[in-house]
């Protein structure tokens, strides 16, 4: 990966999960609204501490959260509160 040995390539197909579609859609919407650019997302993804441990869309959503907090669009508290609310609603507290 990036010119470094990355092990064997998994060429198998895999199901796209709902949250991954949503992550893609949110990214498109943020781009259309001028709140986030591809270059900013790439920069934020590259700076993730656990980059190699995250899946493709996990990188997207983690980096998007980082960017929106950085830009003052959302605060970490707002995101955590909303996540707790959703967990509660789904009975996963």
């Amino acid at each position: 990966m990036g010119g470094s040995p990355g092990g064997p390539i998994d060429r198998g197909q895999h199901e796209v999960e709902d949250w991954e579609r949503l992550a893609d859609a949110i990214n498109g919407a943020l781009g259309a609204k001028g709140l986030q650019s591809t270059d900013e997302l790439r920069r934020a993804i590259e700076s993730l501490e656990h980059y190699r441990d995250l899946s493709y869309y996990e990188r997207w959503v983690t980096a998007t959260e980082k960017l929106l907090v950085e830009k003052g669009v959302l605060s970490s508290n707002e995101i955590d509160e909303r996540a707790a609310e959703i967990r509660h609603r789904w009975g996963r507290q």
Partner: protein
């Protein structure tokens, strides 16, 4: 534009921190200008919310795979093409 198709170039071995579009495995490697792709806002600036202006020339640059990987076992004529911004290139002597 500084470079013409066929010009020999070398990618700067810069360790510039932050977001860059130049792949690490091409830094310091020699290749040739294949074609000028166009001029675009600098992604290294766009990545931090700046305008990226003035626009920078972007070239399609060719490299021999055998020049990139010391254990490359494919045919000697195998090439790799990458989009490299002009400010990452310096002239290199010789011809393709």
């Amino acid at each position: 534009m500084t470079f013409e198709p066929g010009d020999r170039v070398r990618v700067l071995p810069s360790e510039k921190p932050g977001h860059v579009r130049t792949p690490a495995y091409l830094k310091g490697k020699a290749g040739w200008i294949e074609t000028l792709i166009g001029e675009f806002p600098n992604p290294e600036e766009l990545a931090y919310g700046h305008s990226g202006l003035p626009e920078r020339p972007l070239y399609k640059v060719g490299f021999r795979q055998t020049d990139l990987w010391k254990d490359y076992r494919g045919p000697a004529e195998d090439c790799l093409y990458a989009d490299i911004y002009e400010h990452w290139l310096e002239p290199e002597r010789g011809t393709k």
